[in-house]
Symmetry: C2
Subunit: 225 residues, 2 copies
DNA sequence: CTCTCATCTTGACGTTGACAAGTTAGAAAC
DNA sequence: GTTTCTAACTTGTCAACGTCAAGATGAGAG
């Protein structure tokens, strides 16, 4: 299968909203997939439903993504790109240096809560094509933002290109945030559908992460990002 | 398809333990399901394959479990029962009171690593039937063991029947352990297939959890279990 | 021995992912 | 401006799946 991605759209002026016959179908399918995941969850996801929503035949997706795994991997990549943005925004909005890591962690949890199905896909490695370059790059970048922030707050140096985490403190923080996000998304911490519930869980996340950081922060001084 | 293709004739040897009509099919199907999950993962799981392995027709499972969700829920229940046992065993084998929570957490991680697909199912709430009594009871019991241990080590009192966790410290510990387990199972912490790799990750888990506990332990004294 | 009914089988239906072959239309070549 | 090329998309097909309905079977009760 070829998964060629033509950037310059075939169509000079894709009409509003939908790119029909020769539009940017790849993007439209990713968008449709996100919608399906949001509405029906991972177990309600089908390639054919995505094609239906994009207004194309059931076999059209294969041309762009190969198979279902290919499309889901693209969705995961978009998810990591969004997660990266959310973390950066949160970091930039936080005035106190000592709270940067907390803010980033809460953004991580917030992303998971607002995009639960996508978050689930992003970390379900059995479903994904790990040879997809966009996916790998997006994942690395999201993790890089976390490492950057950790380095800045704790004033230590971390190799951003290390294949696996070796520092127990770094992993502890990640596992904590990821665990909270996972439990919250899976409904283990109570309902998480309404905006109020999500806000409550974000607040809880802040408390838990702050509680965890209190005892382990002051090691070195911090450096600017 | 008139060809009779029974491999073991209808009932070769009425095993004791249960009155084998065509066997203790429910148990056989759960076992088959675990095997399928182990070999092919969650995305390779099918009801028909389970039936095939149990040596029954494709529609037989429906009689015992209703649908695929019913069978998966039973598998999850068995998983929680196993997790409970693993936690208790680890606790009983740990001589130092202050290390009980650590040992329990490492057992949690160890269970996840040795039963990755089952662990995944157990927490994939969208797949499960939360009205299944066995499942709900098993989940509560597993969590109860954790709460018990936490209470004993930290010398505080926790309501074991509370619907949701409200103490940030209790949740922090759970999220940390669960996050580590989740990341490890999904391969985010490196390969986790061989026995050596699993042992390595368990050791890493101990270090990370110990590192986390160091700063937050001495609050009250501990009580006996 | 006969009856009975939970258990299991057979067969069918609609849906899915994937593949193969055919069609279409934009753009490049002439 | 016509032809040609080719990626993009469609149509058709297949085996496998989950589920349902109806039929078969056999173990235990009477």
């Amino acid at each position: 299968m070829k998964a060629k991605k033509k950037k310059p759209a075939r169509r000079p002026a894709p009409q509003r909203g939908k790119a029909y016959h020769h539009g940017d179908l790849a993007a439209a399918l990713i968008e449709a997939a996100e919608a399906v995941l949001t509405e029906r969850g991972l177990e309600g996801f089908t390639l054919r439903e995505c094609a239906r929503r994009a207004g194309v035949s059931h076999a059209a997706p294969a041309h762009h993504f190969g198979d279902a795994r290919g499309l889901l991997t693209e969705v995961a990549a978009v998810g990591f790109e969004r997660l990266t943005e959310a973390q950066i925004r949160a970091r930039e909005a936080e005035p106190k240096l000592q709270n940067l890591l907390l803010a980033t962690g809460v953004a991580y949890v917030g992303f998971a809560l607002t995009h639960p199905a996508q978050f689930q896909v992003m970390f379900q490695s059995g479903l994904l094509d790990h040879s997809n370059q966009r996916f790998v790059a997006a994942g690395r970048r999201a993790f890089g933002v976390y490492l950057e922030t950790y380095s800045a707050v704790h004033g230590i140096r971390i190799d951003p290109d290390a294949e696996k985490v070796s520092d127990p403190s770094v992993l502890r923080q990640w596992a904590l945030v990821h665990g909270f996000a996972t439990l919250a998304v899976q409904g283990q911490l109570g309902p998480n559908h309404s905006a109020a519930e999500i806000a409550g869980l974000r607040g809880f996340a802040w408390i838990v992460l702050e509680n965890a950081q209190k005892h382990s922060l002051p090691r070195g001084s911090a450096s600017k990002l």
